[in-house]
């Protein structure tokens, strides 16, 4: 089952994991996984969501205890009961969600939890020390800056600095690029290379194939808790090969999309103004429309009003001016229920905090929009038999992996939870659907599943508004794409049918950075470079 390493120059092993077993409810997250990390390499750990990558690394970082198996660091068996034990052996992990205190400075965050300094902080002295460590590895951060003042990329550097300051030799990066902008990703790669050149080793968890081939020396792949490849040199591997090892079949990168046949106007957003939670203008005279049987994309850098747009459409946020109409009925500034009762489905971007109730069962979660109507509701009472039947049907139809429909959804993985939400929204046979970042944080297989479901909606004649930050996703699914920038639509491009060419992508890129479409046409494509 395992492809072994071809004979590359043998560097000593920095970490060796043998036969690691870890279970979670109903899931064997790691099934006798072997993993080897050589000193001075960048080793990518590839796998779908829920394949067990993070679990394996959390075991190595001392956050979880393995149920079986051994860990050796530089050839010596070790036992970790806490991250503190792991860092003593030189293993540090940078998590996807940073663990920093926003109101404190970089130095204070780096020193947090250390025995030295003992009582007086003597910050200037330690500022210098922290700066020196940063200098050595090319991590440019001002030690006196407060965390809240830093960009996400800089915060990630602080996390790295924390680990390096503690003397980590092995750095585990859990999907470090997920939160970064493209140019920040290049910066991170430079830092990783500079750390390698100074004898550190890096484990790079990812499910993005192009990054893995760009940065890693060797790749290990996990699929459903089993290692399908250990330490394959990334130079020789093609993207298709790695994808196959990851998902167990050839991923179809191109979706077969039938030509569109747009029908009646379904969603009509006219000149909408709205504020964000802080009372600042988020939408400023935004207009767009979606017809039946088409997928319309909204492209843009995060935080340009996408969330507010979806909330105004679904009635969760008031708009100050303008109106939203659904098949001719006014839906803006009305309650959410009106939209739900008029065939509007909504896949929110935050599946844990908006899209689901974590402690309620799968059944309770799938009836969230159906509990008002028969067969679930009978004269004000719930027919639990009918609800359970529905949940079981959806569980089978949408391939939701869960021990039972009475399981609370907080125990589900991200991909499974998204399937619960999609199952609920799609089974209501909506005439219109807003999907916000429906594939964020999902693995290749799950993303493909979501894409197929969205295309099926389009073919069934529903209107779909797809708000996403993944340009590739928008271009492969949408018939038209609007580009949003600071709460306004910069322009609209047609993509349906044709292979997106470079000039189209360049145009969208220009609009995403604030150049309106008319101006681009006036100046000619490529004028800005």
């Amino acid at each position: 089952m395992t492809q072994t390493t071809p004979s590359t120059p043998e560097a000593p092993l920095a970490v060796e994991m043998r036969g690691i077993v870890k279970r979670f409810p109903g899931v064997l997250a790691n099934d006798h996984v072997d993993f080897e990390l050589r000193a001075g390499e960048i080793h990518a750990l590839l796998g779908e969501n829920g394949a067990g990558k993070s679990t394996l690394m959390n075991v190595l970082a001392g956050l979880y205890r393995q149920e079986a198996g051994i860990i050796k660091v530089k050839g010596n068996p070790v036992e970790f009961y806490s991250p503190r034990d792991a860092i003593k052996s030189g293993i540090g992990m940078v998590h996807q969600h940073f663990m920093l205190v926003p109101s404190q400075t970089v130095t204070e965050n780096v020193l947090l939890g250390l025995d030295d300094p003992r009582f007086f902080m003597r910050l200037p002295e330690y500022d210098a020390k922290v700066a020196a460590v940063g200098e050595r590895f090319g991590l440019k951060v001002d030690p006196r800056a407060k965390i809240w003042q830093l960009s996400v990329g800089e915060q990630q550097r602080v996390e790295l600095l924390k680990m390096l300051y503690r003397g980590a030799n092995v750095l585990i990066m859990d999907e470090p690029t997920a939160v970064l902008a493209p140019q920040e990703i290049d910066g991170l790669f430079d830092i990783l290379r500079s750390m390698i050149s100074q004898g550190k080793s890096v484990i790079f968890i990812s499910h993005k194939l192009h990054e893995v081939t760009a940065i890693a020396d060797r790749v290990s792949v996990l699929r459903r808790g089993v290692a399908t490849a250990s330490g394959v040199p990334s130079k020789g591997a093609t993207r298709q090969e790695l994808a196959r090892l990851m998902v167990g079949r050839d991923v179809i990168f191109a979706l077969d999309k039938k030509p569109g046949n747009p029908g009646n106007l379904v969603l009509d957003v006219q000149d909408v103004y709205a504020e964000n939670d802080k009372g600042l203008p988020a939408l400023r005279g935004l207009s767009l429309n979606v017809r039946a049987g088409e997928i319309v994309g909204v492209a843009g850098v995060a935080g340009n009003g996408q969330s507010e747009l979806s909330q105004v459409i679904t009635g969760l946020r008031k708009c100050k001016q303008g109106e939203v109409k659904l098949a001719g009925d006014l839906v803006s500034n009305r309650n959410t229920l009106f939209g739900i009762q008029h065939g509007m489905a909504y896949v929110p971007e935050d599946r844990n905090h908006v899209g689901s109730a974590p402690n309620l069962s799968v059944t309770d979660n799938v009836i969230m929009k159906k509990y008002r109507q028969p067969p679930i509701s009978r004269a004000g009472f719930l027919d639990m038999g009918a609800a359970t039947k529905l949940a079981k049907e959806l569980k089978d139809a949408y391939d939701i992996i869960v021990p039972s429909v009475t399981t609370p959804v907080r125990l589900l993985s991200g991909g499974n939870l998204q399937r619960v939400i999609l199952a609920r929204e799609i089974s209501g046979l909506p005439s219109f659907m807003v999907a916000v970042q429906p594939t964020r944080g999902l693995d290749v297989g799950a993303i493909e599943g979501v894409h197929r479901l969205l295309l099926a909606q389009r073919e069934a004649g529903a209107a779909v508004l797809l708000i996403s930050e993944e340009l590739e996703e928008l271009l492969s699914l949408s018939d038209r794409v609007y580009v949003i920038y600071e709460g306004k639509i910069m322009g609209e491009v047609k993509v349906g049918g044709v292979e997106p060419d470079e000039s189209l992508i360049e145009m969208i890129g220009l609009m995403m950075t604030g150049t309106p479409l008319d101006q681009i046409h006036k100046e000619g494509v490529g004028a800005n470079g």
Partner: protein, 376 residues
Amino acid sequence: MAESTSVQKKRAGFKIRVEPRLEEPAAWYPLAVSLGAIVVALILGGILISFAGGDPLKSYQHIAKASFGDTGVLSDTIVKATPILLAALACSVAFRMKLWNIGAEGQFIMGAFGASAVVLAPLLAEDTPRWLFLTVMVLAAMAAGAIWGFIPGYLKAKFNVNEIISTLMMNYIAIAWINFWIFGVWSEGGFQMSPKFPNNAWLPRLLEYAKEYPALRGLTTHAGLLLGIVAAIILWIIVYRSRWGYEIRLIGDNPQAAKYAGINITSNVIYVMMLSGALAGLGGMSEVSGVVHRLQTAPIAAGYGFTGIIVAWLAKLNPLVIIVVSVLFGALILAGREIQPSGVPKMIQGIILVSLIASDFLLRYRIRIVRADAEE
């Protein structure tokens, strides 16, 4: 996964490992843990009793006898349990929606006032048929309690006033309110109590049927128990089997998801506080019409609303479990009167409470003892 993948140096000893529980435990497990906690508490209490110079076994026997020993004391236990039951039901429905109603005490008192007003105002003549009298008293009590719940509920819904503070403060207003009536308007010859209610306004008690069934002689268990059990069953159906209950559970677990599902949170806050108040008010009616038979501050404002908070938590907000836990609490209160020195039962009560609350840990975490040399 007992298969060992490595042979290592053997080291002696055992290690205790605490791990978060990621699976739902089996259905019998929470019950077993609770019973275990009570056993542990009784052992600890036994040690305490022997320090105080008593014989733990004998004391426990006496406590058991004093609260469950014969039909007489069992009946007394149930009389004590009834107001706790209704107050705990009131708390449970509000807590289910994460509305921290600390005001069951005040709503209970206002319920007692509402029921008394029917008799004392008087809204109904003294010779009104008993069924009508009691029905009107029940309705008046529930309405009074609901109003006392509505005020903090409305303030919470409209102005986001913290319900913990407002409900707590309204308890004191309720006490002052009934004091005003019994000191002044309805005072029984200057005493701080109202005149006794006519028999038509008393909830039926078992002893009334002693003529037909001599075994019932002297038993003071009253129909309030029936009200409590029926209320518990109805509340269970509302919470777990009705549309409204689904909304309550959804709001309680994730208000954002509830909004997303098109549920109006504001009106539900008000309705649930009113239901909570009405249940506590019913408790007040049951106590005033089933036990005290007059409006009087001390026996009505006896802290049942506060005990209800604890009982609701211990029963994990499940209305049917609340019935059982209320009876246990009734027994503890009763035993408290029987045992000397009088501090001991209070302490045992405290130990049981702490043990039960601590045992919750075992539901969320599991403890595994492993051999130190084992890699499993």
